[in-house]
């Protein structure tokens, strides 16, 4: 075991797969000479050379399309977006081409490509740099959506996406987690896409989250522990396909479900989970399913407005107590 930052876990995943498979290449803004805007690809140009670690101009639609075309022709591109906010310009290629190729071609042409980069808010970056995109991409049939909360999962899931996934994968990281350390085994490992993890077992209430909101989920569980409430915390890890069976199994035990996410509330990941669990687990529920999302608004710049916008432990604890009918 080694304790390494999230960004290094991602780098190891990419580098190991690039060593294994000549068809894998990394392309994006500042990934090569600058060693990555957030230093995720540090040293990769030196190791793999400019044929395989490729700087692009600021042309998201263009280089995403190059990746999509290259994937159709047999390569396995890794496309980095400096942040997912900028991938909106490439949405046409992701939605209208990558996700639909297999369907339109009657199964002839797949698109084994990984799009990755940091996602969601990262402090006081203002409205245009703070969108959490899980629910957007999760809406699209034909792609898979991964959103890890720690370096260990990120490495295993990214390796899986690059090596074994034949379908397009959206891989959502977070710049505020890049420095977080986790224990990484010395031996190679893969984590299957589509499986949630139980981050903390518990009895009384199920809390589901993903990506950096897992921190809020786990801190909430800690707070609740002090008051004798045992929360089971589930880390989705993958958003599409959604591992609702793991959630349901937990709810069968706890009879209560609270979801924390950074998405906007309308048509969010929690909306989908709430639908699925009320349908499959109606008889097990002792309280309405509740959720904490970001505010139904663009994120403003001022520090107090950022705090008021994002889900936090205080609000989550309060809502958990409500579903447990704990007064005070």
């Amino acid at each position: 075991m080694r304790s390494i930052p999230f960004r290094e876990a991602l780098r190891e995943a990419m580098s190991e797969e690039m060593r294994r498979d000549e068809r894998v290449f990394l392309m994006g803004e500042e990934v090569a000479e600058y060693n990555g805007a957030y230093k995720v690809s540090q040293g990769m140009l030196a190791e793999f050379g400019e044929k395989r670690v490729i700087d692009t101009p600021i042309s998201e639609l263009g280089f995403a399309a190059i990746g999509v075309g290259a994937a159709q022709r047999g390569l396995r591109p890794l496309i980095e977006f400096m942040t997912w906010n900028f991938a909106v310009l490439a949405m046409d290629q992701i939605l209208n081409t990558a996700s639909k190729m297999l369907a339109m071609s009657g199964g002839q042409i797949g698109c084994p490509i990984v799009f990755r980069g940091p996602n969601g808010s990262a402090g006081q970056l203002g409205a245009q740099h703070s969108t959490a995109f899980e629910s957007y991409y999760a809406n699209i049939p034909g792609i898979k959506v991964v959103s890890p909360s720690n370096g260990y999962d990120a490495k295993g899931l990214l390796k899986q996406a690059i090596r074994y996934e034949e379908d397009p994968v959206i891989f959502l990281e977070s710049e505020v987690m890049y420095g977080d350390k986790s224990e990484i085994p010395n031996d190679e490992y893969y984590i299957p896409i589509g499986k949630a993890a139980i981050a903390k077992p518990g009895r009384d209430v199920t809390i589901v989250s993903f990506n950096k909101m897992m921190k809020v989920a786990l801190q909430t569980a800690q707070e609740l522990e002090k008051e004798g409430v045992s929360a089971e915390v589930i880390d989705l890890r993958t958003i599409r396909p959604l591992d609702w069976m793991t959630i349901l199994e937990s709810v069968k035990k706890t009879n209560r479900l609270v979801i924390i996410e950074e998405q906007w509330p309308m048509c969010s990941v929690s909306s989908e989970i709430a639908y699925r669990i009320q349908k499959e687990g109606f008889d097990y529920l002792d309280a309405p399913i509740r959720r904490i999302t970001s505010a139904d608004a663009p994120m403003h710049y001022a520090p107090n407005l950022v705090t008021a916008y994002l889900p936090d432990v205080t609000r989550t604890v309060k809502i958990v107590k409500e579903v447990m009918y704990i007064k005070k």
Binding site: Y34, D55, P57, L125, H129, R290, P298, Y301, N304, Y309
Partner: protein
């Protein structure tokens, strides 16, 4: 030595450029030393001559729009240093009520349309402002600013074509400071002279010394005249340089100290003050008096920002819809 421009013009340029320079340096200090400013912060230091020349070649009503390197543009168009500094702090008295921050300054009263964070987006939005000016029959001309990096977005090509097709009154101004973050212009294209991108659309274009307010003024005045008379858009590539990193967090390993020094030798403030002194438009003491005045304005902006209130927490759901009865989802 005679000059084409008047004493008043030179003194205006000097004062404006000094205001932008001193404001940026103070703001950067408040970011780095005091931690009062957060988020991405892109200083305009080194590029002031472009603002100066554009201001004297346009009218107040001409809308300006730019990217996130926007502090200098707001100050040029007339936003007070107080409102700018307060915006950086995220205070309710800022030019966007503390909601925009460094990248999103807006001041429509002064015809400044911001402050945009998605590289290249405002090239198109700027042409849209121009479409409206033409539609409404004003003779206003829009100045749409963007970086050398932004020149590689598809947006530029679609909008150049549309603006020429419809002869929109817009001047596209590429502030070519030679870098898009760590990527120098020559690593982004086969076409290094960005003004040549206009050729494909037969759009008039010019390359201009962006360290010289005189040259900027002349180039912009020509383009503005053409646009006001219905002649349509122009692309102006202005060669300039940013003295600071891309943003406060940039280690700048992609360029040498010598390169930065070379550009500082062409500093527009130094050049303009030299011309002023040579032509006896002002004495050394008078320039120092201007500097002192600017210093006071900048100091005052910090005090103002410090003492201003934060926006109320309820602002989270305000300015999202004009519809005051919009049913927000709150749980």
């Amino acid at each position: 030595m005679s000059t084409k421009f008047t004493k008043e013009t030179y003194l205006y340029w000097y004062e404006l450029m000094q205001l932008i320079r001193q404001f940026e340096l103070k703001a950067e200090e408040m970011y780095k030393m005091a931690g009062k400013i957060r988020g991405f912060f892109h200083a305009y230091v080194g590029q002031e001559a472009i603002a100066a020349g554009c201001m004297t070649a346009t009218r107040h009503e001409d809308p300006f729009i730019t990217a996130y390197r926007d502090h200098g543009w707001a100050l040029a168009k007339g936003t007070s240093a107080n409102a700018c500094m307060a915006e950086l702090y995220g205070k309710a008295t800022g030019c966007a009520k503390g909601k925009g921050g460094s990248m999103h300054f807006f001041d429509v009263k002064n015809h400044f349309y911001g402050g945009h964070g998605i590289v290249g987006a405002q090239i198109g939005t700027g042409a849209g402002l121009a479409f409206a000016e033409k539609y409404m029959g004003t003779d206003n001309v829009v100045l749409a600013f963007f970086g050398d990096g932004a020149a590689r977005q598809g947006m530029l090509h679609e909008v150049f074509n549309l603006a020429m097709l419809w002869k929109l009154p817009v001047i596209f101004i590429c502030e070519n400071n030679n870098y898009a973050m760590g990527t120098s212009v020559h690593r982004t294209s086969n076409v290094i002279d960005i003004y040549k991108l206009a050729d494909a659309y037969e759009m008039p274009a010019d390359m201009i010394d962006g360290m010289s307010p005189e040259a900027v003024h002349d180039g912009v005045a020509r383009a503005v005249k053409r646009a006001r008379e219905g002649g349509g858009p122009t692309l102006l590539e202005m060669k300039t340089y940013r003295y600071k990193g891309h943003s406060v967090s940039d280690p700048q390993k992609y360029r040498t100290k010598e390169e930065v020094e070379e550009y500082k030798n062409q500093d527009p403030l130094v050049q303009v003050s030299r011309t002023i002194l040579k032509n006896q438009f002002a004495t050394e003491a008078e320039l120092q008096a201007i500097d002192a005045k600017i210093d006071a304005i900048v100091q005052e902006s910090v005090r103002f920002a410090e003492e201003s209130p934060w926006p109320d927490d309820s602002e989270v759901l305000k300015d999202v819809y004009i519809d005051q009865n919009y049913p927000f989802i709150t749980d």
